[in-house]
Symmetry: D4
Subunit: 253 residues, 8 copies
Amino acid sequence: MEYDSVLSILRAVKDGRVTPEDALASLRWQPFEDIGYAKIDHHRQLRHGIPEVIYGKGKTAGQIAGILGAMRDGGYASALITRLEAGKAEEVNSAVPITYYPIPEMGIFGELPPPGTQGVIVIAAAGTSDLSVAEEAAVTALALGNRVERLYDVGVAGLHRLLSKHNELMNARVIVAVAGMEGALATVIGGLVACPVIAVPTSVGYGANFGGVSALLSMLNSCAGNVSVVNIDNGFGAGYLAGIINKIGERAQ
Amino acid sequence: MEYDSVLSILRAVKDGRVTPEDALASLRWQPFEDIGYAKIDHHRQLRHGIPEVIYGKGKTAGQIAGILGAMRDGGYASALITRLEAGKAEEVNSAVPITYYPIPEMGIFGELPPPGTQGVIVIAAAGTSDLSVAEEAAVTALALGNRVERLYDVGVAGLHRLLSKHNELMNARVIVAVAGMEGALATVIGGLVACPVIAVPTSVGYGANFGGVSALLSMLNSCAGNVSVVNIDNGFGAGYLAGIINKIGERAQ
Amino acid sequence: MEYDSVLSILRAVKDGRVTPEDALASLRWQPFEDIGYAKIDHHRQLRHGIPEVIYGKGKTAGQIAGILGAMRDGGYASALITRLEAGKAEEVNSAVPITYYPIPEMGIFGELPPPGTQGVIVIAAAGTSDLSVAEEAAVTALALGNRVERLYDVGVAGLHRLLSKHNELMNARVIVAVAGMEGALATVIGGLVACPVIAVPTSVGYGANFGGVSALLSMLNSCAGNVSVVNIDNGFGAGYLAGIINKIGERAQ
Amino acid sequence: MEYDSVLSILRAVKDGRVTPEDALASLRWQPFEDIGYAKIDHHRQLRHGIPEVIYGKGKTAGQIAGILGAMRDGGYASALITRLEAGKAEEVNSAVPITYYPIPEMGIFGELPPPGTQGVIVIAAAGTSDLSVAEEAAVTALALGNRVERLYDVGVAGLHRLLSKHNELMNARVIVAVAGMEGALATVIGGLVACPVIAVPTSVGYGANFGGVSALLSMLNSCAGNVSVVNIDNGFGAGYLAGIINKIGERAQ
Amino acid sequence: MEYDSVLSILRAVKDGRVTPEDALASLRWQPFEDIGYAKIDHHRQLRHGIPEVIYGKGKTAGQIAGILGAMRDGGYASALITRLEAGKAEEVNSAVPITYYPIPEMGIFGELPPPGTQGVIVIAAAGTSDLSVAEEAAVTALALGNRVERLYDVGVAGLHRLLSKHNELMNARVIVAVAGMEGALATVIGGLVACPVIAVPTSVGYGANFGGVSALLSMLNSCAGNVSVVNIDNGFGAGYLAGIINKIGERAQ
Amino acid sequence: MEYDSVLSILRAVKDGRVTPEDALASLRWQPFEDIGYAKIDHHRQLRHGIPEVIYGKGKTAGQIAGILGAMRDGGYASALITRLEAGKAEEVNSAVPITYYPIPEMGIFGELPPPGTQGVIVIAAAGTSDLSVAEEAAVTALALGNRVERLYDVGVAGLHRLLSKHNELMNARVIVAVAGMEGALATVIGGLVACPVIAVPTSVGYGANFGGVSALLSMLNSCAGNVSVVNIDNGFGAGYLAGIINKIGERAQ
Amino acid sequence: MEYDSVLSILRAVKDGRVTPEDALASLRWQPFEDIGYAKIDHHRQLRHGIPEVIYGKGKTAGQIAGILGAMRDGGYASALITRLEAGKAEEVNSAVPITYYPIPEMGIFGELPPPGTQGVIVIAAAGTSDLSVAEEAAVTALALGNRVERLYDVGVAGLHRLLSKHNELMNARVIVAVAGMEGALATVIGGLVACPVIAVPTSVGYGANFGGVSALLSMLNSCAGNVSVVNIDNGFGAGYLAGIINKIGERAQ
Amino acid sequence: MEYDSVLSILRAVKDGRVTPEDALASLRWQPFEDIGYAKIDHHRQLRHGIPEVIYGKGKTAGQIAGILGAMRDGGYASALITRLEAGKAEEVNSAVPITYYPIPEMGIFGELPPPGTQGVIVIAAAGTSDLSVAEEAAVTALALGNRVERLYDVGVAGLHRLLSKHNELMNARVIVAVAGMEGALATVIGGLVACPVIAVPTSVGYGANFGGVSALLSMLNSCAGNVSVVNIDNGFGAGYLAGIINKIGERAQ
């Protein structure tokens, strides 16, 4: 498609409708809108077929509302805001209506796509303390139009809890494994299933967990071959990636 | 299926064909063969639909040949041996015929599945020194029956080399990005495409690369949302994961 | 010049105008003023041709005002105060007037030199969150009498944003590249241009960014040969260094 | 007992059989023999009831033989030599006869105690590459007179292999869990059993295993409460500790 | 026992009292109760013979009270709550009565078992600042029905304080050594006694103690063979492990 | 002397004035007083000839006052309290009078010894922010009866400031060099003088100073042979050590 | 210029000399030659005005000779090969003549530009062991047509050696400071001069230098504002950067 | 004295015996000889009263012999060569006679000063493997004219071995404590004695000793106030420092 538009310009040059100088300018056209403190990429949604994402931390409620406003005006259907504290969310909401999820501290603007009819993403979390990261993954995957099944509190120190969910694991098209401390959940699940497992180390723990390093290293060194890893506490990234992997199956049909 | 066989046992108990005591023993049946120094998992191939994988490092040629022999006798169609030095490969080959790939130091036993007709895995590597890791990913993906396209020497310090391959990147169903040093390739590709990117940090570099830590951290902190990471120099893991992700599309059809 | 003054002293000794004992004392003269808690280097401005710089963090408003007062009395034209919180800045200002820049938390005392007519320093920043560090570099470079062009929110995950600024990058005499997370911006810019690039890793990010280590290592391992690095969040150092590099061109004319 | 001997000395003083000055000397008696390059602790065996242990690495064959000779002359029943390479072992053996175990590179001098009749120590190892560390633990525990059961190649990526050994695990009085890479074995076993688990991280793996740090951190952060950890590759320490824990049960009877 | 119940089911199938389909369902029965945010393992107490443990940090008072309520209804005799702040403890107490220990911040629900008549656990702590961790170990060991002797402020920089407690150390069946800073206490005690020593590094110290890493590494590298290590500040784990090791002696009788 | 007292006891046994049993008890006498939360070492002052030191951090004002009270009752001439916040100091002072030094946050109880007449300790500090650590060293050295000369704000980035103090440096018997950031002060001074230099890294700085690690490593790797290092921010240790080194000269006279 | 050529193409389209379709192909032209294992960037030399650089490590002599041959055929005037061992250099030379520098292990192909008439780069090195890194910087800077002055063995532990070279330092346009161990040289020089200082940490040292980390951190935390840092042992990068900074002065004239 | 010589020059200027221009040159006289690859500091011996030291590692035998030759010609009485392998030592010896010590790999050129009559330096080492580092300290201290007493194999895991040497420890003027693994020796000795203790961490150990980091951190965090630390394996530095501290007592007499 992009090549078509370049071709159109070139044909307009041929036909004399556009001068070479103007064509040159057009070819250098910027596909985003500059609102001063942030550049909104109007083509991203088209190119990637997914909602725009705003990293809320470090931005003021005013800035976030401003970006959302520009998006709305630009015809965006939906947007995700991550790491958005409750107080800030309320402020944003008074300017541009959003739906707020307090546990993963996320906001959603606009209409979400309906969940696909095929392919389930399982979000497995080791402990109660890993919940907010797991929910960040779950809400993200839902926002991308995926079906999601949550398996929480299935840490490997009580293996029967995990094994009792064997069916759910085997039916998943992709699994997100969320764990802090020793992070063994990802490897154990990876060994049980044949589908891709996205491991999310969390900073849950204390002492020699070094803010999530123990789980991170554990997951990177997994002896299961179907495990890949995202950053510590990066529930969003895992949910996003799970979403687009699951969509491969959907689109292929 | 597994439940079917359990049900069969239970029905045999009901019918009196099997005593409860024997049924108990059957239910505790071990689905692997013990050859002394290693347990071969005869069900893995069925369950996962992929060749068995042997990690060659730290095993003698005799041990590897022994494992392959047991597999052959067990009716395995194929197997992959990773981290297999040339000398050891020759020894193995004289006992059990294998095909050897010297650059990624891999061996393959048996017939590989034909490449699927749909879905391309792009393996992109930043520099010439990253070649062996990239090839480990490529051969692994091929061995799993995938189509593979290699884009080598496309490091971001010469961005036009990467951008000239824009079409190949856009057409991929999943991309493996292999890079050492500053590891920026994964993020740059992640920003260009919408498909999943599996990042492989390599130990290529010196000084403050700390044996691959620089690339590893760079990739874990990618500001692109579609990037996940495997262990340093783990070409096999990336190729394997890319293969099963690509197959999601194939199977779904 | 310094040698001239030593020679003058020696000649005065020869002529009997100064005793050897007094000459010895003179030769040990201290070129700075001691105000108790800090030594002000009255010769620095002459020697280096640039404003004196005060690191505000860990000093009280009273101490800063005291140093500025001594400078004013010593005939200093200007001074920069870095890491100066808004509240403290107000206190300082009530004692010694300063101009305050809230985003980089900097204060300037006295008259700044007019910007040079040649040579542009480009300050490129990856994300909105890197703004305060980028502005520290920008204000510092301006305070040294340089022309500055800001390119903000040009992170490599949206490469077209950076490439659309190709002209500005090519025209720079020196570039400051500010980025957190995976810090890839420095390498990508380094590969596009031929001029020196000063990379500033920022602590922006979370988890395995380890307070800026990911970006720091990424930049130190850049595969572009024209990149050097300053400390994490050290916008001042980068702006200062960019300023004196740019002045090499100016002075040479 | 030690107090008894002090009391005897004091009583001899009282009775005039020993002068106060000689008593003082006796009280300062050194309970070890100095052979120049090493001090042999003749009381250790009595006090601790276990063979003396010699760390072979960094000592010459001559030094080791010298220490063993002095022990034999001092009436020692047995001694263990760890980290003893095959070549050095042969040299030692020609001077003082020892039994050599090539896989854990250990030597044993003298008669070992017969294995106790009660209490089994299970040594579980994740992979074939962890064998030498596991055997160091096994041989050490045996040398201390314990019954040992080995469960090798039971890594958690193939969970059924471990679960098929459920009975052996449940019957153990203490378990040594040996694993490299992600080190999850310790936690999974810890969750299955009620007895103490001594975890031994190994340096097996590559890349981000950092020579065993990944397994070490994983084990230190185990969410199972009955797991403690020894140094990387320290099979000896684990076997030793398992042995004295197991003996608590034996002695108590 | 578990096998007995499986056998019963199988026998009921044989006798026609249970259909194979129902048996299959029974065999997949989940031995825990799901109360939404946490799964309570009703079999753990039976299997392990010890109170259930709740990690209080990161759970609300309401969640903790809920878990305790479900336990009480499920017939649990007792439970331990660790890392429970005073304020939260008060809230919990108003819903479900608990006994609260403010120094180690622990709560106990229900009746504790009476202390065993044999086998003493010594809890040795280096400094006053290590007290809360030492008390976490002590209260845990007591809650498991052990006899405990505390030796506090016996750091090795004043060796005579430790040596004056020689008798207490020699009489212990297992010792917990708690120390921060250079963590030498574990090694010095390990060399004095023949029983197992569980070392607990604490985060006490500053600068290059790196939050407990100095003591942790010191303890992992102990040149005494009878020392194993738990996580930094993990008094609970050490007390728990000491308790079950001590019980080996008791049960054996 | 200690041996004399043992001899006296033994002689009393010989003379029948003391029974062997009582003698045994005496020989096990504890040379410290136990006040519950801390053991006061009444012999330390005699043995070491220096004031007792109390580490204030992590102790309540009540505990500190209690320890001081016991000391006073035990006849102690003086004591030092380090890391004592102003508020707590006030509380302590109302119970037991102390002199408080706010910058290094230290308190002194009792009469300090008069400064020696010979041997000067120079305390050199790189920047204004290193002041509190430098003062901790200075006050400690003074409290031990040493003469102290302070050279502050002599960081090596303005080398002439340091060189102008050449005489003071050359006249020192021992030097304490306090510096954060790149910590180069210790090496530069070490190269200028022949006396021992005790280096104190401080946590002053940001980013890649990693809380003082940069200065610590710099000082440990000093290419000057007369430099040794204490913990980050450990002004007390440096002042204490400088004091006892300086006293070697004094005592020798 | 590049824009000119695009404009030419567009004008040819307008004139009908080129079809839009062919223009589109031209606009996607790849500005490099693919020789299989490496892509040679024929435009780099033009764009950057400097010799092409080949990183020799990890490439065979045959590969290097192949790249040089393609360059020669492509009309390249000169090329630099870094990290080229003597043996490999000989092999390369027999295929394509190069000049070899054994200490920095570099090779140069073709004619170097004559040194500029203005602007001196000073290469200062702390110790004899830093020589090879310093020479890598020196030869690189010379190869780019710069004047170079070497100041070797001027480490700060013997400050007078450095200070005796005060004039040479003051006359430099840019300085490269090479040091291992505590790396203080960069800061001391940075404080003496007003020009940019490029610091190169080396891996020289042992123990807590951690392969160059001590010098690296020291330099990153320099309290001198005109210091930036390159990777450990990266003499090439420093020489390259110094060269292009020095050229700013030359070009500006 | 240096000031005297400057004064002499100034007086000569006054008297007309020296022109101001010549005086200026004299004042800038370089107090070292340049022999191409190293600068020999002829004044160091005078200034510091101790032998010159040559770091042998990384220098060829020819370079070392050259430096020694220049020293001999320059009238040096003696010199120390550290880290000198046996083979290289032989080569050096054939050119310039040296005495060689194989265990610490040190060479001595010229006549050593006779040992002082007062003040003993105790070198205490934990294990046999720490011997070479301990001997480096011992030989260095001897070469500086000190009396040395060696206490080897006194590691804290066998505390009685150390305590049996109580007298020797108490009589020392300064102690060097050499230990690897958990490095507890320094703290235990520090608590026993009142004199300065210089701690030398060694790289002895494996796994989580991280090449000496465990002992280094242990020693830096010593809870004994009289301990300072040098680099890992830096026996030379410790012996040197102990020597000059011991001489303080000698000189003072």
